[in-house]
């Protein structure tokens, strides 16, 4: 059974920027990764603004800053949707516009439409246990860049330029009183990319090719929260790691081949202004990582529900 308002809560996680891990290792997990589903025929539309910035980053295992980068800021404006094909099957999509800036560098910040993502989310099972409900879900997703942006321009690139496919499993328990816990883990396959240069260092070896490998990704997260008809609040912790790739070379710029890893904690709150309209805000902080910026993320969004509940 689904709380009508609760449905809205799901979208916050869907609209992550899968490519932008260096800039945005944030509270957002990699995909639709919480446990909520639209009912048949319902639409939910989300717009969201995100601001991420960092001064320190990890060059391999070493945390450092760089006077020649100063503060690196990535902002995005995103439009997303979720549609209920049936009670057990949802389709979701998202498209962000991203722009970047470095406070110290003379390198020009980049801007543009990034990647369009599409997911199918399937819920094969739910059961009432221990005064609440347990749900198991699986999602599969695809994404592709929608503009010819420059991926090999990190950390000011707006994305990694890869096409991706992902699979994910989700377990959720929601108590009737409103407490809930969600655990999820997934794997993202990422295609090689074609770079503008035709030689690059990878794992301290020179390769004569413009085909650059972009590491696949494993991620997992857990969240603990409370929800009622007006308010939702949540704490979360997430982890992701590239499953191959190299370290940023000492005093060099990052590149898409780097094996990125981050552990992030986050807070999330949502206020239901009206049955169909909700405002949400999130905060995230990278605690530890490798080849990523130690980003702080703030975001705010509005979601709107179209269509009636079939309950």
């Amino acid at each position: 059974m689904h709380n009508f308002y609760q449905i809205l809560a799901m979208l916050r996680h869907y609209f992550f920027l899968p490519a932008l891990l260096f800039a945005l290792p944030t509270i957002y997990a990699q995909l639709p990764d919480d446990a909520l589903m639209m009912t048949k025929g319902q639409w939910c539309i989300l717009t969201q603004y995100t601001h991420n910035s960092w001064t320190n980053y990890w060059e391999g295992p070493t945390r450092r800053s760089n006077l020649n980068l100063g503060v690196v800021t990535t902002q995005s404006a995103m439009l997303g949707f979720d549609y209920g094909i049936s009670r057990r099957l949802n389709v979701l999509g998202a498209l962000p516009y991203v722009w970047t800036h470095s406070s110290a560098s003379y390198l020009q910040g980049q801007r543009g439409l990034q990647d369009f993502s599409l997911w199918l989310k399937y819920q094969p099972f739910e059961a009432n246990v221990a005064g609440g409900e347990v749900r198991l879900q699986a999602t599969g997703g695809l994404s592709t860049p929608v503009s010819n942006y420059v991926a090999d321009f990190m950390p000011l690139a707006i994305g990694l330029g890869s096409r991706t496919a992902s699979l994910r499993g989700i377990v959720n328990f929601t108590h009737a009183k409103g407490l809930y816990v969600t655990l999820q883990a997934g794997h993202t396959w990422r295609s090689d990319i074609t770079t503008d240069r035709d030689a690059f260092m990878y794992n301290n070896q020179l390769y004569y090719t413009n085909r650059m490998p972009v590491p696949n990704l494993f991620d997992a997260s857990g969240r603990l929260g409370f929800i009622n008809a007006r308010l939702q609040a949540e704490v979360q912790m997430s982890y992701f790691t590239g499953t191959s790739g190299d370290d940023i070379r000492y005093n060099e710029m990052p590149q898409p081949t780097n094996r990125m890893r981050a552990t992030t904690v986050g807070l999330y709150a949502k206020y239901f202004v009206w049955q169909r309209l909700a405002l949400q805000a999130a905060y995230g902080q990278v605690l530890n990582g490798r080849n990523v910026g130690q980003g702080t993320t703030l975001s705010g969004g509005i979601s709107y529900l179209i269509g009636t509940s079939r309950r």
């Binding site: 198991l136 260092m201 494993f218």
Partner: protein, 516 residues
Amino acid sequence: MIITHYLRWTVVGLAILFSLSRCEKSPENPVLDPYPETSLDANGGTWKTCVLKSGSEIPVPAPIPPTSSVYQLELEDLKRQMAAATPEQKRLARLWGGNAVLRWHEIARELAAEYNVPPNYNPDGKTYPDPNPNNPAVYPRFPFANPPYTARALALLAVAQYDALVAAWHAKFQHNRLAPYKYDASIQPLIPTNDLPSYPSEDAVIAVASRELLKMLFPAEKEYLDRMAEEHIQSRLWAGANVESDLHAGRVLGQAVANRVLAYARNDGMARAGDQSKMDSIRADAAKRGIREQWHSLDIPERPAMLPLFGYVKTWNFDEATKIALRPPMPPMPGSPEFERDMEELRSIVKNRTREQFRIAAYWADGPGSYTPPGHWNRRAAELIQEKQLNEIRSARAMALVNTALHDAGVTCWDVKYHYMIMRPTEADRSIKTSTGIPNFPAYTSGHSTFSGAAAEVLSYLFPDHANDLQAMAKEASLSRIYGCIHYRFDCEVGLEAGRKVGQYAIQRGRTDGSQ
């Protein structure tokens, strides 16, 4: 119970996901496949050398005759080694059996890329550490293989290989002892055969000469280079291409030639090229020429200028007076219509840089972590040599001509840069945002343009059927610096033209070296 069933299913699913995620991704590199050598260049021993007085300067003792019992023993030993070769050794035999001149240039480019990282600033946030040639493995490792360093390195490598092969050719056709498979039909080499006399082994000569030069240039890589050279030399046995006495004579000759080139390199002026103590007088001289707004490092903290005295390093294909005569006139000064026109072009690119302009700027950037612009053209030369399947001595000649031209281009360009001390466009107008890093030396003239003009000119002479695309590449490399907004158009146009003139001197050497 149904819940545990689903949970178990979930755990299995996650385990599968995790195991799928273990697979490693890696790009593949092309391999230089062996090809048959169509021409022997029997007069190669008479070609004009660069550092040696001539190919006959270093005598090579006569080999044991193929009829002797000692040579027969060597053949038996060779057959034993071939029979015992492991699959990996056979793979190496094919790898090194390709064009070994080019293989060593590949190694040099790789080292250049690995060492082309500017040192990070010290913890004080104000100063930079200096790479120390006497302690090369300690950070910041020596060398910082920036474009001038790499240009000189590739030229020295190419010259050593070329002179060593001219000397080897001289000895080969003096003694005329052929390859072991010519005397024993039971030897089936793993690589294409030829009629070239095999004493002394050209591969041992190349391996030792290359190893010695690269050891001086990248002193922290001694072990790696020793390993590569031994692998190369031993691979000739696994391939069935040389007997031990071929290799031994090649080692001795390669070392002797390398010693001459090393002596040249120790006195070519590079040792003081990084001297910062002359910067005050350089600035004062430029001011006397009327340059008021001069270049300063845009790195934070301000980084010592890159090799301010590289312009005094010895050139290969012309003398000091010619270098000074090649100096272009003063560029347009801020406030002049010509200067403002070129600035306006950059401002409009900043506002509306196309994806294609970005691509071109990135393709030719060859910045930190790359083999630098000289490495880019070195690679292009290698590709053309491979395409035309030149033999080893002709490959070495082509590489010597191209890489000495690149070195000379670097020297003349650096001479001009620190003669005029022209500021970067971003210094003239801080709103000029770039799509590639701003190099740490004055703007005028463009190094990329000078390198590219010189290399394209020499390669057009060597490979005339590619002249059009080579000239187009040089033009694009030159323009790439405008698209990146790190150079004014006048930097690039004057640099490209100066580079072409530099290239002509290498062509002059090529026309008179006796290889026609």
